[in-house]
Symmetry: C3
Subunit: 115 residues, 3 copies
């Protein structure tokens, strides 16, 4: 019942960020998932990046990470990642899930911080 | 002409899910693309996942899959994947395409079930 | 101040496309990022694709690319990629960022073409 109430008032959200170093991504993810409970799950994979930094073309290997949470926690998650991210200007992009299976949304809600 | 009519009334949709086993993902994808025609295309890649399951931190390799379809088929696709997914609580996340090239949307429409 | 004005009137956008050949993707990306300044950054990775083409099931390796830009440039970026893409019917899917850190959005704005 309470789960139903909470579902009707919150949406699933995906926060996307990139990291140069797998271990710092894993450490931050553990803090966010286990300790702070600001997201229920992190998926990440190796990616190639191409961009200009200080007028120079960069081609690098990075890790792209997808943090799954709800609208209740998305602003705290964003602030926490910004505060602990190793980059000066990290990519922090947020996409709202337009739909999500209700059991998976419940699982996210139940694996993130209450209140 | 009919294609135009159909385009104006439907949007492109992406369904995201994760799987532990590549072969079951391929088998399900073939059923959805070839037999049931509920999506036109599946992209997938290996991904690392970090989450808590039954109070224990899990770090696993999974496959993340992106199923491309239209708003006409998205609910049937969701139901079909939920019904045949090997996980107890699978991730089923849906993102609406905010825009899509009209030829690619036509291709999705033409490679999914009519009516 | 001007940055603030520009931020308030534009959103971050992600254009997703797939390519069969890494070098043509890199070449197109360099043109878009360095010369034309229609996007600030491209991320890409290898992906497996499964679809039907001319009644035949195809299973192929491709590269999926994410081009990061703003609403000011998204239509020019889409047209440019469509014009130079090696595929007959390329996937061109656009997702609007529902939120983005203001510094990262500024970085995208400052690394794309003005006016």
């Amino acid at each position: 019942m309470q789960m139903h109430d909470e579902q009707s008032s919150c949406s699933g959200m995906i926060l996307i960020s990139t990291f140069s170093d797998e271990q710092s991504l894993i450490n931050l993810s553990k803090t966010l998932v286990v300790e702070k409970k600001l997201c229920a799950c992190v998926n990440y994979t190796r990616i190639n990046s191409l961009y200009v930094w200080e007028s120079e073309l960069k081609q690098e290997e990075e890790f792209i990470a997808f943090f799954k949470t709800t609208s209740s926690h998305i602003q705290s998650l964003k602030a926490e990642i910004l505060a602990h991210h190793p980059y000066k200007v990290p990519e922090i992009v947020i996409i709202k899930m337009d739909d999500v299976s209700s059991e998976y949304l419940s699982w996210i809600i139940n694996n993130t911080h209450k209140g």
